[in-house]
Symmetry: C2
Subunit: 352 residues, 2 copies
């Protein structure tokens, strides 16, 4: 049918079939009059080869528009210069800045970032990670739902860094929620709140429990009553569904696991004519896109997401580059990434 030489009308499908048309080190070697291995050395080990020869080779490479074949390189070295970022739900704005930070940190050192999402399912997450592992030099698990032992098992295969989750023996990047939470309690106490609720996130979320632990301690220390409601889906719907329970509980303020839930609750309150902050004050977490244009705007604990993303990748790459040294650092993993309260309109004087 497609006899060679035949015009293939109306289409740019003349791409070569099996092989990429791309130039190889063999082509360069021929052009520069040296051995392929010399080309390889010239390009990967500057200094190993005579300066003039190297220049000649580089010139030839440039002329042929050479780019290494990442797979050919990956095969003997086992290194791919790709890392994976696993997120729970791409459509949660919380991940924007994380992804952005991670992308930046990876690109800076010539790594490529591969993103996958688990769609909030531990099972799908496991499958995704399985599939991606052989392709990458390491994985950042953001807000993972995987159990500790599973993570440890993965870590035995390849470098792993978790974010918003602490796993013993595995590099972790976790923001310091204490300052933000202390400020929140302080703020609410100053407004006269004596009884508050924490709207928990998903059950398997380490971060949700972590925030609860710190919040509980801070509230108790301040002599407040506090209750936990949950677990809940970390979405607008999850927050929405809680309004009835919140009102029934008699608390005057709530702290939601994340901003999405806070937004959901806020909107449901508006829908049911519950005045915020007059009847109930709402505090969110993370300070995502949109928290400042609800009515009222949401008071929230700002998390340095971009920096977290950057740092997670940097730690991962440190482990990738030198597996010996950096692998896990025991307990001092809670890095100094501080959170802080951003006060907006959704908090006010306690009702009654």
């Amino acid at each position: 049918m497609t006899s060679p030489g035949e015009q293939n009308p109306g289409s740019a499908a003349k791409r070569k079939a099996g092989t990429n048309g791309a130039a190889t080190i063999y082509d360069i070697a021929k052009l520069a009059g040296v051995n392929p291995s010399t080309v390889s050395r010239a390009l990967t080990t500057p200094g190993r080869i005579n300066e003039r020869t190297e220049a000649k080779i580089r010139a030839a490479a440039a002329e042929l528009n050479y780019r290494v074949n990442p797979f050919a390189r990956a095969l003997p070295t086992g290194r791919t210069k790709m890392i994976a970022l696993m997120v729970a739900d791409i459509t949660n704005p919380m991940f924007f800045d994380v992804v952005r930070g991670a992308e930046e940190a990876a690109a800076e050192v010539g790594y490529t970032l591969v993103m996958t999402e688990s769609q909030e399912s531990a099972q799908r997450e496991a499958a995704s990670v399985e599939r991606i592992m052989p392709m990458v030099d390491g994985v950042v698990l953001v807000s993972t739902r995987l159990p500790d032992d599973r993570i440890a098992a993965l870590h035995a295969e390849k470098p792993i860094v978790t974010m918003n989750r602490f796993v013993p023996g595995v590099g972790s990047v976790v923001p310091d929620v204490t300052p933000g939470i202390n400020q929140t309690i302080e703020h609410l106490a100053n407004l006269g709140h004596k009884s508050i609720a924490y709207l928990a996130g998903p059950g398997p979320s380490w971060m949700s429990r972590h925030r609860w632990d710190i919040l509980l301690a801070a509230a108790v220390k301040r002599g407040m009553n506090i209750v936990e409601m949950g677990p809940n889906e970390p979405t607008q719907e999850g927050g929405q569904r809680l309004l009835t329970r919140v009102r029934a509980s008699g608390v005057t303020a709530v702290v939601a696991y994340n901003d999405l839930m806070a937004i959901g609750l806020l909107r449901e309150a508006a829908a049911q004519d519950v005045a915020v902050p007059y009847q109930v004050s709402i505090v969110g977490f993370d300070d995502i896109f949109g928290t400042d244009f609800t009515t009222p705007a949401i008071t929230t604990v700002k998390t340095p997401l971009l920096e977290l993303g950057r740092l997670a990748v940097q730690r991962l790459l440190a482990e990738v580059e030198d597996p010996e040294s950096t692998t896990s650092d025991g307990l001092a993993v809670i890095s100094g990434l501080a959170t802080s309260l951003v006060v907006r309109g959704s908090t006010g004087p306690a009702a009654k």
Copy 2:
């Protein structure tokens, strides 16, 4: 220092160095008592091998927890089962659903999605694409800023599909903006608006011009006056900065290139006590996360982003799987993905 056998305390860094510990087809071959090539065939060409042998091989593979090394496979075949999605700005919520749709479509058929962003810079985009091209089987360019000839050049190397951009000879996925725009004009006309403005996006944005073209035609047909303002950054700031010009122009309604700009303009209006929609009506584009919780909520032309993402990937994969047939389909590329107006609070009767 690290004498073999020594306990490496407090760390799981016993990962094997050069090679992955992973099982290969050679291990399977040995275990099943056949030739490696037989294993390869059994696993990749069902039917080519005797059923019983194949079963034995599969059992052995399962026992060894075998997973193909994607790079070893990619080397001879040139196929990687990865596709790239290039977006302009990860932090623009517009891309959420696009990414989600693309991820789904890719995952369904066992492909892995690699994401990169150009950070709104044609130069960075070119560099990113260059870097990613050799790793993937094809690329989806979303809202690309690259010039036509550059895209055509890329298309000569690998399958490419553009989204929100039409390039002759290259597969394109573009929503049908006409119904949404017609409804918008109709809606505004019914509200008594006679003079409106279009707040353009970035200069190189094909989609911004496209929307303008359709909008212009629709407005003229309806006997309205319309002006274009721009180009502008497609961000909240871009919208914010336009308030003065909008007011000066005397128009009673504006249509923004995207929701981010609409939100920016709306917030700036609130900040300067310009009443929306009483003094000026605002219409956005896309219906992104957050448009429904501004005050007032934003009237916007909803774009089926998830479907666009899905479709872009599906078209790309069709071309990947069969380069002959699917490459480019001339002009009938504007697929039937219809837009429609979502009326909310930011539009109202024309001022005066």
